[in-house]
Every structure is written in structure tokens, then in C-alpha cells.
């Protein structure tokens, strides 16, 4: 509040704001932590994953107790954030963000922040940003490098102005193949969070209008001016086509960044009973369960199933193999 450009009015605006933090892994941890401490009044944290020990190297909201508890990240994050600031409202949503649920997740939301680890979800967020006129901030990291760009519909270029086609699968390295250095996460997420503070407090004039590219190992920052993208015939923000949001683009499987795991999801499917499933799988392998997920260890696989039928198959990065394992033990 004492920071003059923010002031009392800015702080009050933050308290009245609602933000969707999309993904609560490495970037999302820093985003949610920073916004909770800044007094952003309502955080909706959505994440599809659960915690693993190797997450702790960079996912600063969590500790070994959280890993041992077997909680989904969104729930562990909410618990931690409420302990940090009990005066704000924090909602945890355990879900894979896709075209069937994003509009609902955006109900009442003033802006979205990118804590995701894949371009499919980012293009989906970009579609929603333009269609519903909600600003968002892109952030991505790999190794010791990171990028961020702020998108305000009608004012700045959008993600698709900059990158008309999403990178083909397999051409962008994951945290698994290239590794990631903790500090780059903090740099990128802190910039994303600061952009959010500017926008939410009513200071859009102060936003970053470049693509910022950091190379931390070489101590270099580059800012790429995007002025020449203003007014290009972009399929999203000029032609208003939203193929990711309309469900024409995007698959329902994903290889999870840094996890040796594949996620399979089934939007629109009926809820399944984890209790019944636990009974069915008792003889197959080692089954554990909490209200949010069920886990089956069998052969070299660790299968985690959520009530919406979504599953994360650990122990493989082969989508076909993951589907086979799902069909064999969980059923279709």
C-alpha cells in the first residue's frame, strides 16, 4: 500500500479482484504465493496433478509433509495459501483445464495467470482471453531460460499473433529432457505476478508490452518489441476464431512435463466411485485412496485415478501404452 503507484486505492482493487491461477506447479506456486501475500482477494487455483518428491526442487508452495499426504496440488496449495493469508478466499479445483470447463472456471474472474507446462492449454487460455475479454500473462521456462508476455485483449498482440501455430508435439523440450533451474521459475513467475498487480490495481499503462526472454546462466535479458504485430490479421484476435475453446483443437492426452507420465482425460464423462474402483482393484496391486484420488501400483506403473475418470499413468511416456494400461485396469 505504501508503494506510491499502487496506493490505498490499488490495494483495495486487489482485495476486490478474482484471479484464475491455471496450473499450480513451479510457476503456479510462485504466482499463487505472491498474489496471496499481496492481498488479491480471491484466488481460484486449478491443477490436474498430485505431488511427488521431485517437485520440491522448484514448486515452492509445498513440502515433504504435503508429498506424504498424497494430496492433489490444488488442495495442498489452498491449505498453504490460507495459512499464509486467512483474509482472502482460496478455491481449489482439481481438474484438467479444457474447453468443456474453462468458461465455468472463468466465472467472475478478472484475469488469468499461466502456471501451465504445455502450449495446448496456453492456446486455450488465449482463445478464452480474447473471446471473454480477460487479460492473461504467458510464462514458460526451460533449463535456465524463460519467456513472458502480457496479453490484454484489444490493447496488445495475443499469443497467436506472435506464434500463429502451436509448436508440434515433441519439438519443445520438457523439464524431463532439459532439466530446469529453480531461479528461472521465480524470475518468470514474479514478472507474471507483477503484471497481474499492475492490471488488477488499474495500472494497465504500466504493463510490459514486449516478449521478455531471460537467459539466467548467461545473465542476459532481451526484450523483443512487438509493435509491428499490432493489427496483423491474427486468426484469434482479428478473425475471432477460437478452435481451442470450441474443442476443434487439442487432444485429451498429455505427456506430463518432467514426470515420465501420461495423462488421459475424458471430458463430459460421468463421475466414477473411487470406493467401488478400490474394491475392484484390491486383488490387482497395491491400492491407496483419499477423497480426491485413488492410486494403484502395478508392475512398473503407478496409476492415479480421479473421480472424473481422468488418470495419470506413471512409468511411461508412451501414450498408446498408457491407454492400454488404463483399459486393462480401469476400463473404458
Amino acid at each position: 500500500m505504501r508503494y506510491a503507484p499502487l496506493g490505498r486505492l490499488g490495494q483495495e482493487r486487489l482485495a476486490a479482484s478474482k484471479v484464475l491461477v491455471c496450473g499450480c506447479g513451479a510457476l503456479g506456486s510462485v504466482l499463487a504465493n505472491t498474489l496471496a501475500r499481496a492481498g488479491v482477494g480471491h484466488l481460484r487455483i486449478v491443477d490436474r496433478d498430485f505431488l511427488e518428491l521431485n517437485n520440491l526442487q522448484r514448486q515452492v508452495l509445498y513440502d515433504e509433509h504435503d508429498v506424504a499426504s498424497g494430496l492433489p496440488k490444488a488442495v495442498a496449495a489452498r491449505n498453504k495459501l490460507q495459512a499464509i493469508n486467512s483474509e482472502i478466499e482460496v478455491e481449489a479445483v482439481v481438474a484438467d483445464v479444457d474447453h468443456t470447463n474453462l468458461a465455468e472456471l472463468l466465472d467472475g474472474v478478472d484475469m488469468m495467470l499461466d502456471g501451465t507446462d504445455n502450449f495446448e492449454t496456453r492456446y486455450l487460455l488465449n482463445d478464452a482471453s480474447i473471446r471473454f475479454n480477460i487479460p492473461w500473462v504467458y510464462g514458460g521456462c526451460i533449463g535456465a531460460e524463460g519467456q513472458t508476455m502480457t496479453i490484454v485483449p484489444g490493447e496488445t498482440p495475443c499469443l497467436r499473433c506472435l506464434m500463429p501455430e502451436s509448436p508440434p508435439p515433441g519439438t519443445t523440450p520438457t523439464c524431463d529432457t532439459a532439466g530446469i533451474l529453480g531461479p528461472i521459475i521465480n524470475v518468470i513467475a514474479s514478472i507474471e505476478a507483477c503484471e497481474a498487480l499492475k492490471i488488477l490495481s488499474g495500472h494497465r499503462d504500466a504493463i510490459n508490452r514486449t516478449l521478455m526472454v531471460f537467459e539466467l546462466w548467461d545473465s542476459r535479458l532481451r526484450q523483443v518489441k512487438l509493435d509491428s504485430l499490432q493489427g496483423v490479421d491474427c486468426a484469434t484476435c482479428q478473425q475471432r476464431q477460437f478452435p481451442w475453446l470450441d474443442g476443434q483443437r487439442g487432444s485429451h492426452t498429455a505427456i506430463l512435463c518432467g514426470r515420465n507420465a501420461v495423462q488421459l482425460s475424458f471430458p463430459g464423462r460421468q463421475e466414477l466411485s473411487l470406493e467401488n474402483l478400490a474394491e475392484k482393484l484390491q486383488s490387482v496391486g497395491n491400492v491407496t485412496r483419499n477423497p480426491f484420488l485413488l492410486r494403484l501400483a502395478v508392475d512398473e506403473f503407478l496409476i492415479t485415478v480421479f473421480p472424473d475418470g481422468r488418470a495419470i499413468i506413471g512409468g511411461t511416456e508412451d501414450i498408446m501404452e498408457a491407454k492400454t494400461v488404463y483399459a486393462k485396469y480401469i476400463g473404458n
Binding site: 506472435l162 506464434m163 516478449l211 523483443v224 512487438l226
Partner: protein, 81 residues
């Protein structure tokens, strides 16, 4: 003319160098550079379709003309998080 291209992120790994040096005809464009890089560094080819080029610290579209002393950066999208 010879141009130097500073490579970022995965482009650096795929080309095995921080900087790519490419021979181009005078008055070549970013589109020509994209094609020349794919020829000179075949492992880069699949990634090149989605990289952003910056010339003298500004976004450069396919028609942007290149000059021998331009500062050119090849910036692939970065996905982790």
C-alpha cells in the same frame, strides 16, 4: 551476405551452438533465413516452423529484409512451468 543468428533455448541444443552463421543472398528476408537455417542445421528443421525471429530487438515477420550487421535472434517457444 553472411548473417549471424543468436540461438535460444532448444534451438541452441539442436544446432549444437550458441550462434548460427548462414550465407544468404543480398536482400534476403526472414523467410529465406528460416529455409537456410533448416538446410544448414537439419536437426533444427522441425522446430523452425514455430520459432520467433527478432531483428534488432523487434519482432520480425517473414517479409522483413535482413542486412549483414543486423542483430538476429531465433527464439523458440518455451513450454515448461
Amino acid at each position: 551476405m553472411k548473417v549471424e543468428v543468436k540461438l535460444f533455448a532448444v534451438a541452441k541444443q539442436l544446432a549444437g551452438a550458441d550462434t548460427a552463421v548462414v550465407e544468404l543472398a543480398d536482400a534476403s528476408t526472414v523467410a529465406d533465413l528460416r529455409a537456410a537455417l533448416a538446410r544448414t542445421y537439419p536437426p533444427l528443421a522441425p522446430t523452425l516452423a514455430s520459432v520467433v525471429f527478432a531483428v534488432n530487438a523487434a519482432y520480425a515477420d517473414e517479409q522483413t529484409r535482413l542486412h549483414p550487421h543486423d542483430e538476429i535472434a531465433c527464439i523458440p517457444p518455451v513450454s515448461g512451468g
